[in-house]
Subunit: 299 residues, 2 copies
DNA sequence: TACTCGAACTGACGAAGGCTCATCGTCCCC
DNA sequence: GGGGACGATGAGCCTTCGTCAGTTCGAGTA
């Protein structure tokens, strides 16, 4: 079966005869006749009854032609979609962000992107496991990556968006809430909510605690920053997360820390990135990636 | 553009590489590579980015593939609709049997099928070379396959019809004809008529001889079981063939062997097989696929 | 009843397409 | 640095699709 045969069959049904259909599609009558018969032979059914004045679809033929029409229409759309690819973007953009990054900035940028390209679909992966992020990057299935360091896949173009500070999340009633800025050593006796061990964010926490010579107890390990914030807010322990990872309604339970902890935010694009990817990058640049000082002033 | 190209493109997207997709669809890698590039050339867009580990759909490619999937699915439905809707089947059924299999059973089943569907034409290929059988199966041109093992193409549905015993064919006047059953080791000094080396049937003989620690001389290698039987009957050597491969008039020169040799008979259908194929399958089930004991009693 | 016309079908042949096979180039990993 | 995996290229062969010339069949008309 082929699209060509479908087109021929549809043309015969519409024109009422092979001869007229052949003329419509600019082929010789025997060619179309052979194609119709070949199709019928392959399917093992009679799609058209032969009459002296032309061909008439059988009941089975009509059922067949309905689906054939769907197939031919979809093929036309496929072609049109592909051809229009550079003119009016549609298709799918795949974005991956290390967990907790850009949680506040992505929605705004994506909304603006959607406004510009209404038929573009964006899929966002939030990956706790940086190894998984690297794997996806290596497979080349990601159009844009938000990371805290350059992808191991050096073929990606890295663009520095800003630096994001971490904030500590304390339970309601925690004595340190009285302060505007919490010194990390004051949290040495508190239990901590940490993250999955293979995750980049837990690497940051591990490094921060080690650098400040702290070895607090780990009360829980979680996969998502939202979970960590929630559990810390409930007083299970304290946790340290990027400022943008703090859900609305929890800001009052967060404080900047001393010494300050921050990490760069990198947007990585594949070489040869298209207009949609580059538009998203520019929109992300326009978002604020500032320090906690601005964050605290806004609230 | 063609449905075949759509299927190739979808397979590449799913498998992640041309090589893997080619394997999935049983074509050579260069063929699929060419088809993908031809499609891209015709459309004038890049559907896939090339990476060292395979192809990755571009955003435009993904959009294209969504419509391609619709087209391919509709084509499948068109085919199934046509096949299911036929009140009176006509067309062509293509059956392939490994040489020697079903030689007695196929005619009866096909006669019954012809009675039921008078306008159906059936073409039967008897293939000595199992590689050729596999090739035809891969091309998808076979509606039903008779084999001794499952097709390498796992997309075929395998149906176990029975087990068929092999019998030894002896020359007229051979001393072992005095026995009702011949022990294989008694034939160690006889010359053997074997089959083409790439054939499945010769694989069976090779395994049988090896398992019984026999290394008789090979006096001839032939392609067809009928030829082997004929030459054995003439006393050129002995041979071992499926019971159903013994032509009428030669039964008296055959004997079951000990240890018994048998092989399963598998009928394989394509998924989405139509009523004609399924009717043939049922008719084949109704045929006898029993051991030689029944065969000997019948004569 | 015979003739004409319109339509589908058949066979031969050539051109184009699709496949395999052998091979090469590139990239990545050990 | 070498081997393996992957995509691309070229040659050759087979299949498919098209045209052309001709045949067959059925309906309508004189």
């Amino acid at each position: 079966m082929s699209l060509r045969q479908f087109e021929y069959a549809l043309a015969v049904a519409e024109a009422g005869s092979v001869t007229a259909a052949a003329e419509l599609l600019h082929v010789a009558q025997p060619s179309m006749s052979q194609q119709i018969r070949s199709l019928e032979r392959e399917l093992g059914v009679t799609l058209f009854d032969r009459t002296p004045t032309g061909l008439v679809p059988t009941a089975v033929g009509r059922a067949f032609l309905r689906e054939a029409e769907v197939a031919v229409s979809a093929a036309r759309r496929a072609r049109a979609t592909a051809r229009a690819g550079a003119a009016e973007l549609e298709g799918e953009l795949v974005v991956a962000a290390q967990m907790g990054l850009g949680t506040r900035q992505l929605p705004g940028a994506l909304t603006a992107l959607r406004n510009r390209y209404p038929r573009l679909e964006v899929t966002v992966f939030e990956e706790p496991n940086s190894a998984e992020l690297e794997r996806l990057a290596r497979r080349g299935v990601l159009d844009l990556v938000l990371n805290t360091g350059p992808c191991d896949d050096h073929s990606y173009e890295a663009h520095h968006l800003g630096d994001e500070e971490f904030v500590v999340v304390l339970g309601a009633g925690h004595p340190q809430l009285a302060k505007h800025r919490v010194e990390l050593r004051e949290l040495a006796r508190d239990p901590w909510v940490r993250f999955d061990q293979n995750s980049r964010i837990d690497d940051v926490l591990r490094d921060v605690l080690r650098d400040n010579e702290l070895a607090p107890a780990t009360v829980a390990r979680v996969s998502q920053t939202a979970t960590a914030v929630q559990w810390a807010a409930h007083g299970l322990g304290v946790t340290l997360v990027p400022a943008s990872a703090v859900p609305y309604g929890h800001e009052h339970l967060t404080r900047p820390v001393f010494p300050a902890v921050s990490q760069p935010i990198i947007a990585a694009l594949q070489p040869g990135a298209g207009p949609a990817e580059r538009a998203l990058l520019e929109l992300l640049r326009q978002e604020t990636w500032y320090s906690t000082a601005c964050f605290a002033r806004a609230s």
